[in-house]
């Protein structure tokens, strides 16, 4: 399953918005097969931040572990966010 983050907006900033995004998307996660990967696509996102990422990506990483795969991006706000989330959570995101 591919989650296109641009469908949540081009500016993914606050904790509240991150929480709401995950809650809204959660029913779709039921369709994921036991061995299927969840691929996160950042294309089209302009600004990404640790607050939003911590509410959306951190729970998915906890639930799906290595099955959560992030698509490569050269967006500097995504790169900087992943760096701080990995340091805070002491976990590593798997990247394509």
């Amino acid at each position: 399953m591919v989650i296109e983050l641009r469908k949540f907006g081009t500016m993914l900033i606050s904790r509240q918005a991150g929480r709401e995004a995950l809650a809204a998307f959660r029913p779709s996660l039921r369709a994921v097969a036991a061995d299927e990967s969840i691929i996160i696509d950042f294309a089209g996102v302009v600004t990404f931040s640790p607050s939003w990422g911590d509410e959306f990506l951190t729970p998915l990483l906890g639930e799906f572990g290595e099955r959560l795969v992030l698509r490569k991006t050269d967006n500097p706000s995504v790169e900087a966010t992943l760096e701080i989330l990995e340091r805070t959570d002491d976990k590593v995101f798997k990247q394509e």
Partner: protein, 239 residues
């Protein structure tokens, strides 16, 4: 506490103009240098440098200090209004098309600082709720302020041993508090430091009487005790 006066080359780096520009401003009176006991060398006070040419920062500083009315254009009564105006900043930066630093980082840094104000003060604002948010894309600045509880008060909930605002600012910008109990928050200002320190972005951040400055491509935090005590936080991002 470090010396409050900067040499002309330090001052030029601090506000991102050339030494010649500072000499010109000194002659024209736009920004007068300080000379020690009639000497020839020019020195500058940090606060004078921060206030030069920034009406937005002056307005925010006065509000953070006194809590008097602020112009509606800068006042975000709630988080939804802040998000909307932050989106305006993102659009304005895209339109300008000439930013030296990636616009996404400037918006992300402003977003983390602004959202911190709402996340940590919701339901607990001591007097005025909401935040001050202003920016000038041409001037290369974003200014945020709140009259919330401030960093020391907020951090004391998880680190009761903190004794002053300077120490609280250092912890907020450097320490990842393990478990982040009792609330899932607390990495925003570490992110701000990491981004500002690696790019040509400057930062002034005040909470209580502690003033933090970052400039040049450096992760160094210059934290001093300033002359004014404010409630909440005041920040200026320059780029």
């Amino acid at each position: 506490m470090e010396n409050d006066l900067l040499t002309i080359s330090e001052a030029a780096e601090f506000i991102g103009v050339s030494i010649d520009t500072l000499r010109r401003w000194d002659k024209s009176g736009k920004l007068l240098a300080i000379r020690k006991e009639g000497g020839k060398h020019r020195y500058y006070a940090r606060r004078d440098l921060e206030l030069v040419g920034s009406d937005i920062f002056k307005t925010a500083s006065e509000w953070a200090f006194s809590g008097q009315d602020i112009p509606e254009e800068f006042y975000c009564t709630n988080s939804a209004i802040f998000q909307q105006r932050l989106s305006g900043l993102q659009k304005a930066l895209i339109r300008s098309g000439s930013e030296e630093e990636p616009l996404s980082l400037i918006v992300a840094v402003a977003g983390e600082i602004g959202n911190n104000s709402y996340d940590h003060n919701l339901g607990n604002w001591p007097d005025v709720s909401g935040t001050f948010f202003g920016y000038g894309v041409k001037e290369g600045e974003v200014v945020l302020a709140d009259r919330g509880l401030g960093i020391l008060h907020t951090l004391k909930k998880v680190k009761p041993d903190l004794v002053n605002h300077q120490e609280a600012l250092r912890v907020a910008f450097t320490e990842i508090i393990s478990g982040r109990a009792p609330e899932a928050r607390g990495n925003g200002l570490k992110f701000v430091r990491s981004v500002v320190g690696k790019h040509q972005i400057g930062l002034f951040f005040q909470s209580g009487d502690a003033e933090l400055r970052m400039y040049g491509k450096s992760l160094d935090l210059r934290i001093t005790r300033g002359p004014n005590m404010i409630r909440g936080c005041l920040a200026r991002i320059t780029f």
